[in-house]
Symmetry: C2
Subunit: 283 residues, 2 copies
């Protein structure tokens, strides 16, 4: 099976080192699609990162990440806008399919969730013309409700698509199985996103039982309770045929040699992530 | 301010001891509404528990808990039905306003979430005639999506109300701020539940930032980021004027003397849980 539709998010293999070192590790395993984080890109320098991408014919399935709009004061909100413009520039330089937006949660000390959501919408509306100008699509990523206060007050796929509809062209969603697998309205909203061409990225990992740490205990595909074959079938049926991007925040996998992690990913991608795949029952 | 609309869920003051000891602790603080767990009731004996309730004129705002319908095999599902009938008997004996239903998650090793949800619906449909006969209302409690795999595959208020609509008379919801505060559709669904007389319980605590343990790090009202005054106003506006039931699963509060916990609850109930209350900004 070709690996052209397998992408590695750099968060999964942080231990490999620099931008160049992570790319080298991916190439060793036949993986040619990547999704870097800004810290890697900026440490390498954007020109050098873009050069590595071009020289190796890499596909950049997303740039991580823009967002974090809500802030306690106007200065904080302006700073976020400026930072998002820089992220758009980087995504453009890398030729990324999208800029992934983790929109931010409540400002420090705030209890005003509707207010934070409004700040998110206002911030996105403000950067969108620039993103369109640079031809960078904004991929709104609904995050699991566990992160609503601290990381993203966009928590449902339907909610995110409603926002995309209000914002218009140049926006879509990143659908990460970790965040949305439990959503009772999942099938309907995935179909809707596909129908409107709003699926910009498909992120995968697994949900472990038990999940001991909501931040850094994501599972390797096949080790948890998500039916990833069925999930992928649903995504493809909705019309998205792009890469599955592996994003595993995990203390466990971070502690293993990068080549072991990537070899495991390739094997699981082939065995449990394809439409129709039936994984062995979860442990 | 009268405390007649303040109820204590026994999980909050487990350290106080037995059913009788927890009731005594509540009464010391002027609290006359309770929500016991089955373990407390059964350790005391249902007749003795019912006697204590009657002798002290207590209001039982819920009996905790029925549910956990999904199971790997038919024997497991039958055992759950039988156990739920016993829980209904207990709720009837106590004169509880409702039996709280934590419906259960995926059966061991399963990745079939729609299947688990169907098992929940089938289980509820099976016990409902008995609950009606005993005049016990079933309060479906949507749990935070963090618990979808292990505790409850009902995760949204709207989803739970849809299920109530299908099941019909004798069902409703327990709305726990911890589980639903982040829901983008909250106001609409609370109003809908109220309109249809489906709000059976209102549980309170707070969401801490950070939440270090999704199971046992719930916050005391006022210590987190939920606008509890606004939340209560929304509930009352929807037509529910019943008690606020304090359910705080917390290693921190479990370690404190029960009288300190109850005194703090009474103070916070008065200062941050009333409609229009404005809590100091969250730390």
């Amino acid at each position: 099976m070709s690996l052209e539709n397998l992408s590695i998010n750099f968060a999964t293999v942080r231990q490999a080192g620099t931008f160049a070192e992570i790319v080298d590790a991916c190439l060793r395993h036949g993986i040619t699609a990547i999704s870097p984080w800004r810290e890697h890109v900026n440490a390498a320098g954007i020109e050098e990162a873009a050069r590595i991408v071009a020289a190796n014919g890499l596909r950049v399935t997303g740039h991580c990440r823009g967002g974090f709009f809500p802030a306690s004061d106007e200065a904080g909100r302006r700073a976020a806008i400026d930072d998002n413009r820089r992220a758009i520039d980087e995504a453009a330089a890398l030729g990324a399919s999208c800029l992934v937006m983790v929109v931010g949660g409540l400002p420090n000390g705030s209890r005003d969730l509707p207010g934070a959501r409004q700040m998110v919408e206002d911030g996105l509306a403000e950067i969108l013309p620039y993103a369109r100008q640079r031809n960078v699509k904004l991929a709104l990523e609904p995050l699991h409700p566990f992160y609503a206060a601290e990381r993203a007050c966009l928590n449902m796929l339907g909610q995110s698509l409603d926002l995309c509809d209000r914002l218009g062209e140049g926006t879509g969603v990143a659908i990460d199985v970790y965040h949305v697998w439990w959503d009772p309205d999942l099938e309907k909203q995935v179909a809707r996103a596909g129908r409107n061409g709003q699926i910009l990225a498909h992120h995968i990992c697994d949900w472990l039982v038990p999940t001991t740490d909501p931040l850094n205990d994501r599972g390797m595909m096949g080790d948890g309770i998500v039916d990833l074959g069925r999930f992928r079938a649903m995504i493809e049926q909705a019309g998205f045929a792009g890469p599955q991007e592996v994003e595993i925040f995990s203390h466990r996998w971070q502690a293993r040699p990068v080549d072991e992690v990537l070899a495991t990913i390739v094997e699981r991608y082939r065995t449990v992530c394809q439409p129709g795949a039936v994984a062995a029952a979860a442990a």
